[in-house]
Every structure is written in C-alpha cells, then in structure tokens.
C-alpha cells in the first residue's frame, strides 16, 4: 500500500468533544479506511518516574490523577499491588467500601461514555440525559468522600473514610432513583431503529481479534469473551457478593453499548449487596496499620470501567517504590482500531473509535486522513464528527423517521 504523495491536514488539533489530544493517521481509499496508525504520547506525563520519588502512601494521590474518569481504578489496582507485595489482609468492611466506590465509578463512567457516544451520533438529548443522570452519582461521591472527582478513598491496608450507617439510606435512594432511568435509556436505545441501523454491524471485533490485541473490558465482553478480573481473580468484596459477568456475542458498537448499560444495572445489584454488608459488619474497622513495606514485588489488578487496570510494584524495603509499572486498559483496547476501523467508511470512524471508550487521558484525538486515491485530503471543511452525524440523519430519512427521539 503506497503511503507516498499524500497530503495531511490536521482536522482541528483539539476538538471540544475530544477531550485529549489523540493522533491517528487514517489511510483511506476514497471513503473506505484501509489502514490506521496510532500515535500516542501527547498525554505522557512521566508518572512511573514520579512514582519512584514518592512515598508509598503519596503514590496513591499521584495515580489518582492518571485518569479523571476512572479516578479510583488506578489507586484500587495500586493498593492491591502493594497489599499483594506485603501480604496484607484487609477487613471485610474495607472490602465492601472499596467495591461500592468502584461500582459507583463504573456507573458514572459508563453514563459519561453513553453521553459522548450520543453526541458523536448527533443524539444530543442522549448526551444531556446521560450526563444529567450522572450528577447524582457525583453528588454521592461528594457526600461519601468530600469530592465529586478524585475521591481519595483508597489507602494501603484500608480506606481513608468510613461510610457510616447514617449515610446508607441516601445511597440506597440515589441508586433506586437511577435504576428506572437506566432501564429507560437501555430500552430507548434498543428500540430506536435509527440507532440499530447506525451501530449494528459497525466496528465488529472477532474473538480472534480480541485475543491478538489482548483487548479487555467491555470491548472483549461485547465479542463474547467473558473475561473480568472481578470474577476470575476475586478481590475486595467481589467474591462475597452474587453477580454475573455481562457478555454479548455480536462484537459491534451496539453490543459494546448494551454491555456497558447492562453492567450499570449489575453494578447497582453489587452496590445493594455491599450496602447490606456494611450494615452487617461493625462500623469503624476501616484498615490495618501498615508500618513498613518489605522487599519484593507485587501485582495488583482492578476491573476498571474500561477493562483490566494493571499495576506492578517493586520494593527494596525502603519507603519508596523502586519500580512502578502502570498499564491502563486503553493501552490494550485502543490498538483494536487497526482491526475494527479497516473497511469501514469515514462516517463510521468516530463511533468506532468511541466504542472502545478510550480513556481520554491515554490517547490523543487528532485524526489525519490520507486519501490514497486522490493523493490528498478528501475532507475539507467537514470534520469526521459532522460526517458521523450526517450519516445518522440520512439513515433517519431513509427509515422515514422525521421526528427521531434523540
């Protein structure tokens, strides 16, 4: 495939909806994508190096800021790694609180994704509704931890704050209010013929693709690969409550959306059981005292909203890590574009990219188009986003839907 004689024009280096700078070179033949190249690094912030200069407990505040959306996922995996290294056993109350915070984060993250996916398709109402239903979760976080984001709940050997019995009715009420809204969103998406036409069969990843790319999280589960760290290697309270791994077989963007929505419902089920657990175990026992971290190495993983979040720590017995390796889930999921975008038209590229739910802080969002036929950029003033929305409108028109629920 010739890559010569091409002209690239950056399609707006920073787009308002593409939070982070992300850089893809898309090689296209007319309207079809033939190859994708991923260039990362605009968000590389040297966190692994910084970690080596911080104390074990300071690192938690650092890794919280790897990603704002999955703000508790990285601390969760990190404390799992250090506790694995030092052989620390945590009390049951800590397990319930950690799982509760992790699942609340999963719901807020999936709703955030749903809103953005809706925006990419031109369904701005979905964007506004999903983000509106997200707000009570953020208010809950503020109630539990004092902050809407960066809740700083994790601590080596425990959690930093208890959830007193008095707060449990508030959490129960918020979850109860959210549940019918999630069901409404799920059925609205499934029943909408325009969305089905738009998302079905788009960006399919086969089981073999999942295996070759090491894809994880909802991306893998939407292709029928039932991997979930919470089930396969139970930690926190996930082995103490009853829940199931959500999978779909189709592997397209619609399947990914439905897996995320159904996971929100399952998270509500887990949260309810954690709240029952918190009522059962005595209040106040929120951690064990940890004085020293011995020499050795530890590996900790957490099923973040995007997939397996991996932390490796190595200690020489001092009060700082010798090495801290962090692998965010999107590092494995983003390269699946090389399989899922190829063969699709430019108007589908945005939603396929979004379908993987790249953790924005790991990836950039600038897409360069190389048209191999005309040896030039074929898109002049319309962006890929506008193409995506235009495709939605034309499908709606074809289906004769003048008034579309959007």
């Amino acid at each position: 495939m010739s890559k010569k004689r091409t002209v690239s024009v950056p399609l707006g280096p920073y787009h308002p909806l593409f939070e982070e700078p992300e850089f893809f070179n898309l090689y296209c033949d007319g309207e079809r994508v033939v190859d994708v190249e991923w260039k990362a690094g605009y968000n590389h912030r040297g966190i692994e190096k910084l970690s080596e200069g911080k104390h074990w407990d300071q690192v938690i505040f650092l890794v919280e800021r790897i990603c704002g959306i999955c703000s508790t996922s990285h601390p969760f995996a990190y404390v799992n790694a250090v506790e694995n290294l030092a052989g620390i056993e945590i009390p049951d109350r800590v397990r319930y609180i950690r799982s509760l915070v992790g699942e609340l984060e999963r719901i807020h993250s999936h709703l955030l994704w749903l809103g953005l996916a809706g925006h990419f398709l031109g369904y701005n109402t979905v964007f506004m509704w999903a983000w509106k239903y997200r707000e009570p979760i953020l208010d809950l976080f503020e109630e539990i931890s004092g902050s809407r984001q960066n809740y700083a709940m994790m601590k080596i050997g425990g959690v930093r704050r208890d959830i007193p019995i008095a707060k449990i009715p508030l959490i129960e009420k918020s979850i109860a209010d959210l549940s019918p809204k999630l069901e409404m969103l799920s059925s609205a998406i499934l029943d909408d013929p325009v969305l089905s036409a738009r998302l079905k069969g788009v960006g399919i990843l086969s089981k073999e693709d999942i295996s070759l790319f090491g894809a994880i999280g909802p991306v893998a589960r939407a292709s029928g690969v039932a991997i979930d760290v919470r089930k396969d290697f139970p930690y926190a309270a996930y082995g103490m409550v009853d829940w199931k791994v959500i999978t779909r077989e189709e592997g397209d963007v619609l399947a990914k959306a439905m897996v995320r929505l159904e996971e929100c419902m399952e998270s509500i089920h887990i949260i309810r059981q954690c709240l029952l657990g918190l009522k059962r175990v005595p209040e106040g026992n929120i951690g064990v005292e940890v004085r020293d971290i011995p020499g050795g190495e530890g590996i900790g993983r957490h099923e973040a909203p995007r997939g397996e979040c991996f932390h490796y720590v190595k200690s020489d017995g001092s009060n700082q890590p010798v090495r801290h390796k962090i692998r965010a889930p999107s590092f494995m999921n983003v390269p699946t574009f090389m399989a899922s975008c190829v063969g699709h038209t430019l108007s589908d590229v945005t939603i396929i990219l979004a379908g993987v739910d790249p953790c924005y802080c790991c990836t950039e969002r600038m897409i360069r188009l190389f048209d191999l036929q005309r040896h030039s950029l074929s898109v002049s003033d319309s962006s890929l986003l506008e193409r995506s929305r235009q495709k939605t409108r034309s499908i709606a028109a074809q289906l004769g839907r003048k008034k579309v629920w959007k």
């Binding site: 308002p16 909806l17 700078p21 968000n43 590389h44 912030r45 190096k49 983000w131 802080c361």
Partner: protein, 145 residues
C-alpha cells in the same frame, strides 16, 4: 479595550484545549454545559476552532510535546482572546511539577499569556463559573461579589 469590553460581556464562545491532563478538569468543563449548570442558556458554547473563540480554556500541565502546539494555536487565534488556566496542572503544574518529571516543560503562563487562573483538582463547575464571571466583570468594572 472598549472593543474587548463589548465582546466579552456578550455570549462568549469558548475553545477548550487539553495539554496533557487527566481529563478531570475537561469533564467538569463539559459538565458546565449539561443540564445541572447549563451555561448554554447564557449563550456560552464550545466551538470547534480557535479562530471563533473569545475564551481559551486550557487544562493540563503543558508537556514538552504539547508546548509548541499550544503556542502555535495561540498565535493562530484571532485576538483579543482571553486565556483561562483551569485546574492545578494548568495553573502551576500541580502534582506533576517535579524535578524528576522528564515531561515537565514550564508552567502554562510561561508559554502563553494567561488572564485567569482557576485552581482546584479538579475545580468544581461552580468555581469555574465564578472565575469566568469574575474575569468578564473585570471588563465592565462590575464587582463580581
């Protein structure tokens, strides 16, 4: 500054730029446009091109890789343009300001001129709105209290 005072007290258009952030501030900025805070009812909207913007919201600590792009973007913008550094990273570098950090370049204020600093990690939407209103009122001489 009379042109500026006329422009900046009407519905300002905002361009959002992330220069190496964890995305928390970016999400809170978008949150300002969603139903709970709904800044769009004041005509404040995000635009897709820096050339249409009155206000540039910058998040992230401006890594070495990003700094030249930020500078180019600022130079491409039509003036007058206000710049707001949102979040601890954009204000001072935050937790990433460290001698060990090989990606650390310089604070944003040394790369482009900054008119407003909104600290916080992340700043709450209310804090961002308050900061922007204070900045805009500074053109009319109105006290934001």
């Amino acid at each position: 500054m009379s042109i500026a005072s006329r422009i900046f007290t009407k519905s300002i258009w905002v361009f959002h730029l992330s220069t190496g952030s964890c995305n928390n501030c970016d999400i809170e900025i978008l949150d300002c446009l969603t139903p709970k805070h709904d800044l769009e009812r004041f005509g404040i909207t995000l635009v897709g091109s820096i050339r249409h913007a009155d206000l540039l919201l910058v998040t992230g600590f401006c890594t070495k890789k990003n700094a030249p792009r930020v500078k180019t973007l600022y130079e491409q913008a039509s003036k007058p343009l206000l710049v707001a550094a949102v979040g601890a990273c954009a204000c001072t570098g935050g937790i990433f300001r460290d001698d060990r950090n090989y990606c650390w370049n310089a604070p944003l204020s040394e790369v482009i001129p900054v008119d407003l600093f909104i600290p916080g990690c992340p700043p709450k939407p209310e804090a961002m709105i308050s900061g922007i209103v204070t900045l805009l009122h500074s053109f009319t001489g109105r006290n934001s209290k």
